[in-house]
């Protein structure tokens, strides 16, 4: 069966990473920033898996690192959303413009 070239997958994940970086720079809502971070994490997972599949097919490092990265990103999202909800409770807004103090 004809396999797709590895570079195609890498190009897709690179595009996804830099779209995430663009969103991280330009978005003004904390949750939207978090969504951009999620895009970046996801693109790195694709890279791990593709390198594992194409270059080292008899090991499973890439698969397991992606698995653990998914777990870590779930944990990170949970804590970040808890912080964001707490911020919303204190200043009634989650726009980065209005976040100029960490005290409450």
């Amino acid at each position: 069966m004809e396999e797709i070239r590895m570079e195609y997958y890498l190009i897709i994940s690179t595009l996804m990473l830099f779209i995430g970086i663009y969103g991280f720079i330009t978005r003004r809502n904390l949750l939207a920033v978090l969504i951009s971070v999620e895009l970046m994490l996801n693109s790195v997972d694709i890279n791990f898996v593709v390198f594992n599949r194409y270059l080292f097919p008899d090991h499973l490092e890439g698969l397991f690192f992606s698995l653990f990265a998914i777990g870590v990103s779930a944990a990170e999202t949970a804590v970040a959303i808890a912080i964001i909800i707490n911020i919303y409770r204190n200043i009634r807004s989650i726009q980065t413009r209005e976040l100029n103090t960490m005290k409450h």
């Binding site: 069966m1 004809e2 396999e3 797709i4 590895m6 570079e7 195609y8 997958y9 890498l10 897709i12 690179t14 595009l15 996804m16 990473l17 830099f18 779209i19 970086i21 663009y22 969103g23 720079i25 330009t26 978005r27 003004r28 809502n29 949750l31 939207a32 969504i35 951009s36 996801n42 997972d45 694709i46 898996v49 593709v50 599949r53 194409y54 270059l55 097919p57 499973l60 490092e61 698969l63 397991f64 992606s66 698995l67 653990f68 998914i70 777990g71 870590v72 990103s73 779930a74 944990a75 949970a78 804590v79 959303i81 808890a82 912080i83 964001i84 909800i85 707490n86 919303y88 726009q95």
Partner: protein
């Protein structure tokens, strides 16, 4: 030029990923942004299935698409008032982000295309689930019990931390 089924599936997934990621970071409404992120995660799971890593694809679908997106949608509904739109972007910020992203992407893709990765050695077919299970639960070399336990401790810490941060005082 003849196009195989693999390639058709790949190009559909690639188009979904690129279009939906762009929409996820540019759309004005935050809830739509989360929905586009969901489509990106589905397409990523499709790529894992296409690479014959079904276990990882299933994990991606259950943890990301099933768990994290629900968390996002709930928190968006909790924190965004009715009819909330993103404010107009300043021109300077927009161009700074666009230039940074395009320049970075151009450099990375150029390096990737010109670099030779060596010969591929693709083993066709699925990895047996038994092998994945043994690798996940073993303590020898190339086995991953320690990171697995570490993840469980990290998740516990995050549960406690999340409750501590978000509880009412």
């Amino acid at each position: 030029m003849e196009i195989s089924l693999q390639e058709i599936v790949f190009f559909i997934l690639a188009a979904v990923i690129v279009v939906c990621s762009v929409l996820a970071v540019t759309t004005k409404r935050i809830l739509r942004s989360a929905t586009h992120l969901l489509f990106v995660l589905f397409a990523t799971a499709g790529i894992y299935f296409q690479l014959n890593y079904s276990f990882l694809g299933a994990v991606q679908l259950t943890v990301y698409a099933g768990g994290i997106i629900v968390l996002y949608v709930f928190s968006i509904l909790l924190t965004s008032p009715e009819g909330d739109h993103a404010e107009k972007l300043m021109r300077g910020k927009f161009f700074a982000g666009l230039v940074a992203a395009l320049a970075g992407a151009a450099v990375c893709i150029f390096i990737m295309v010109t670099h030779s990765f060596g010969a591929y050695r693709i083993i066709p077919g699925e990895i047996p689930m038994k092998e994945i299970g043994h690798a996940l639960m073993g303590t020898e070399r190339y086995q991953y019990l320690l990171p697995f336990e570490l993840i469980s401790v990290l998740l516990l810490a995050c549960i406690v931390g999340g409750i501590m941060i978000a509880r009412k005082r």
